[in-house]
Each structure stands twice: as structure tokens, then as C-alpha cells.
Amino acid sequence: MKPTILTKPMRKWAWLFLGPMLVCFGIGFVWPFLHGTYLSFCRFLLVRDAEWIGGGNYAAAFSDPSFRSAFGFTAVFAVVSVILINIPAFAAALALNRKFRGRNLYRAVFFMPNLIGGIVLGHLWSMIFDGILAGFGTSILLDAKLGFWGMIIVLLWQQVGYMMIIYIAGLQAIPADMMEAAEIDGASGSQKLFRIIIPNMMPAITICLFLTLTNGFKLFDQNLALTAGQPFIQQADGTTVRTTEMLALNIYNTFYSQGPSNRGIAQAKAVIFFVTVAGISLIQLVATRRKEVQQ
């Protein structure tokens, strides 16, 4: 951009406009990020001091059975949640897009759970699952399968409304004359859905798919509040695998409940986690760009 009449006087005030944000950004992001990356190559000696050891932490992280188990669990969980959240959300958007009385009430009901935080949600559902499962003489903490589906239900309840809102925005962006033309030409319901609605909704669909995928990968609060990784299984070598522990919780536990000597490994796990999540976002960016070119 060419300098404007504003540029020169503004530069004098750079410290005021950029200063507060940059100081906070440095403290809250840039320095912790750089320092964290560095520490992932270090061994923690005392509480504060660290010594460079190269890639050892990464090797240890990849060979940690609890990390592998968490990685697998998280990947399956994320994919299942993407499917089970987006299909009902899309259906709800289609149903609640047409005008009728009470439409806003329905939308509000579906959206509301999204405003409740993960910790409160986890404890809320924990009471409900306990109430149901007590009748079968079991508990969500006793069976990894129950834990998995329990968390899916919680996440579904929370996020369907959110995705529905994005899908509704997508539906409303479809030109009305296009739908009218299809109707005049006698297109059937499924023809309208697959030939007009879905192709026109691709931006919204891409956003929702990746949003649910990264949300599934990054899930922490609900995991901590609902199962905290239980049930635990003792391995032959003495280590414990927490069967419903997801990646974020695994990293947290490695940081804070296994002593300072494991913090380097925890930081390496965090870097692996970051690269995975950032990779997903990068794929999304490429996918969205390509679609834009086609249109």
C-alpha cells in the first residue's frame, strides 16, 4: 500500500497503538512459543534449569505407549465426531431455514449448549450418565467404550447448534433465483439437495468439517471432567495407560503429574500435537483456496 496522508503522523504513535498489544503478545504467545519449542529439545534438571539433549524427548514421546494410545483414541474420536455432528447439524439447518412460527426458539434450544463451558458440561453429563448406567450396574468410568460414546454424546449436544448456525448462514447465501429456477424446472427434493444446495454450500461445509475436526483433536475440558482418562490399565512394564485419555489430557498429565523429569517429553508431545493441529488447518486452507479458484 502507498503511504497516505495518515502514515507519517501515525508512525509517531506506533508505540501507543502497537505497544500494549505487542507486549502482551510477546508475554502470552511469542516468548512461550519459542521457549517451549526450545525446551522440547531439553532435559529438565531442577525445577528451572534445562540442558540441551537434542531429539531424545521426541523419541521418548513416540515410544510412550500412553501417548500412542491417546493419539489413536483422539484420531478415531475426532473422525467419528465430525460425522456425527455434521449430519444432524446440516439436517437441523435445512429444517430450521424455512420460515415458520417458533423458529428462533428451536434455534435457541439447539444453540444454547454451546455457551456452557466444557467443565460444567462434563459434570452435568456425568450426573446423567451415572443415573442411566447405574441401572445397568456399570459406570462411565469402568468401560472405555462407554467413555468414548459418552464424550461423543456430550460433544454432539454441544456443537450441533454451532455448526447449524454456520450451515444456516450458508443456506441463506444461496441465490433465491437459483432455487426458484430449479423448482420451475421440476427438480425433485434430492436433486435440489445434491445439485444446488450442497455444491453452493461447499464453503460452509468445509468450515464445519475442519472446525469439528480440530475441536475433536483439541478436546480437553470435557475429557477431564467426564472421564479424566478412566478406566486405567496397568501395562506389563509398570506404566499405566489411561484408556479414554485424549492427546491434550495426555500432554497435561505428562507435564503435571509425572514429575519434572518428564517435562521435556511433555513439551515434545506438545510440539507434535501442535504440528498435527496446524497441519489440519493448513490442509483446510489449501482446500478452501482451491475451491475459490474453481468458482
Binding site: T4, P20, V120, M127, Y162, L211, S281
Partner: protein, 278 residues
């Protein structure tokens, strides 16, 4: 035929909605039951035998070795101060970034975009240590941490919006002798209003419900927010009073519902605007 289909659809929608609010209703019902009956009669209404009246709410106020009202107060303080600071500081920075547009500005902008894809676990340990050594571990100072970690999305959204505002308005102010500071606060800031609301809503939803950042940064024996308080009810060993827990969960859900009812339109807009960034 068409009428029939319409009725069926309405009934199906109604049933699904009912299922959707059942969990919240279950909490409300159990908040009025005595502890032992929450587990055994979860889905029954309180009767003469199991009803606890408002005892759970009274007990809940001091339950968990921490006053609930104190955690509610800290939640409000942390959320209001942090969101306020984020809105002010990031909109100022975004205006500068969008208008001056130097190389350094671009670097800052792309760093902000980059920070949006970094999960909190990546900076968890180092951020909480840094915050600790800089004494940012109180409700009055933690906003600095929230501005830092939350700057990415806010700067991104504000910069996008500023770029769409015609430059002519600011130039006119400048020609009339208005300096950059006055131009920003009297001309630009009011124009940012729709984005201020959208960003504000997104940040409120994040910070009000956030658990991990405050639990690591704040000194939790002194300061607890509502999510920390709720988590530590169950986390503490010994007997957990489920009735009182449900009362507290109900108390923390009600303000959220009220907030939603008052700002439904803005929330929907905020969510849609925030989602477009992906």
C-alpha cells in the same frame, strides 16, 4: 398431504428439542434433591422424601472449601477486564497494521494469524511460568495473558474490517487537523462497532468458560473462577455432595442462558463472523 407432512415435521422437531433440553432440566430437578437421591432417582421429580428444598443452594455457597459467590465474582472480573483489554488493544493495533502496512506490520499480522492455529498445550508450561514470574497471576493482571494469547483472532478480524472502511473518512479528519489518536478514538473506533460486538461475544464465550489457562496461571488457593470451582468440587477427595453440585451447576448455567436471551442476534452474528475465518 402437504399439511400432514408439515405437522409431522413439527412434531419430530418438537420431540428433538425436548430431548435437547432434558439434560438441563435434569440438572434443575436434581438441584432440589437430597444428595443420596441424585444417584438413585436421577430422572424422578423430587418428592416429599427426596426433596431438599433450597438446602442445596445454601450448602453450595460454601461447598468445596471456597465460596461460590467469590468464584462468580472473579469470573466476572476476569472476563470483563480481559475482553475490554482485548477489544481496546487489538483494535488499536489492527488499525495501525491495516493503515501503515509496513513490513513490520505484515510480520506482526502473520504472527497473529499463525498464533490462531497453535493449541494452548504448546505454550502451557512456558506461559504459566512467564505469567508467574511477571506476577500476572491475579484476576486483575491475568487480562494481560488473555490479550496475549487471544490477540490472534481479534487482530485478524479487526484488520479485515478496517481494510473495508474507506480511507477518505480518516483522511478528511486528518486534513481537518485531527491527530492519529483523536482520529482513532473519535472516528475509527465508533465505526468498528459491529466487529467490536462480534469479537466481544467470541472472547466472552471463550474466557467465561476457560478452565486450563486460569487454573495454571492463577493462584487457585486464592482465586478461582466458576469452571475451576466446579472442577475442584469433584476433584477433591472424600464425599461429593451431588445435590449441592447440581445446584452450583444450575447457578452457573442460568447466567449463560440469560446472556443468550438478551444478545441472541449478536451471538449468532459473532459466531458466523468468527467461523468464516475457519
Amino acid at each position: 398431504m402437504k399439511q400432514e407432512k408439515f405437522v409431522v415435521r413439527r412434531i419430530v422437531l418438537g420431540i428433538i428439542c425436548l430431548i435437547w433440553i432434558l439434560p438441563v432440566l435434569a440438572v434443575a430437578v436434581n438441584a432440589f434433591k437430597m444428595n443420596t437421591y441424585v444417584k438413585t432417582e436421577t430422572f424422578a421429580l423430587p418428592n416429599a422424601q427426596s426433596s431438599a428444598g433450597f438446602d442445596n443452594f445454601i450448602k453450595g455457597m460454601t461447598f468445596g472449601n471456597y465460596p461460590f459467590l467469590k468464584s462468580a465474582l472473579y469470573s466476572v472480573v476476569v472476563t470483563v477486564l480481559s475482553v475490554g483489554a482485548i477489544l481496546l488493544f487489538t483494535s488499536m493495533a489492527a488499525w495501525y497494521i491495516a493503515r501503515v502496512d509496513s513490513k513490520a506490520c505484515r510480520v506482526i499480522y502473520y504472527l497473529c494469524v499463525f498464533s490462531m492455529v497453535v493449541p494452548f498445550q504448546m505454550v502451557m508450561l512456558t506461559l504459566s511460568r512467564t505469567a508467574d514470574s511477571l506476577r500476572l497471576n491475579t484476576p486483575l493482571t491475568i487480562p494481560a495473558v488473555y490479550v496475549g494469547f487471544g490477540a490472534g483472532l481479534a487482530v485478524f478480524m479487526f484488520t479485515g474490517f478496517v481494510k473495508g472502511i474507506p480511507l477518505a473518512i480518516e483522511e478528511a479528519a486528518s486534513i481537518d487537523g485531527c491527530g492519529p489518536v483523536r482520529t482513532f478514538f473519535t472516528v475509527v473506533f465508533p465505526m468498528l462497532q459491529p466487529t467490536l460486538v462480534s469479537v466481544g461475544i467470541l472472547e466472552i464465550m471463550w474466557i467465561w468458560n476457560d478452565y486450563l489457562l486460569p487454573v495454571l496461571v492463577l493462584d487457585i488457593y486464592e482465586y478461582r473462577t466458576i469452571p475451576i470451582h466446579i472442577q475442584y468440587l469433584k476433584g477433591s477427595y472424600g464425599t461429593v455432595d451431588l445435590g449441592a453440585t447440581m445446584a452450583l451447576i444450575l447457578l452457573s448455567v442460568v447466567p449463560v442462558v440469560v446472556f443468550y436471551l438478551f444478545s441472541q442476534k449478536h451471538i449468532i452474528e459473532g459466531v458466523t463472523a468468527g467461523a468464516v475465518k475457519g
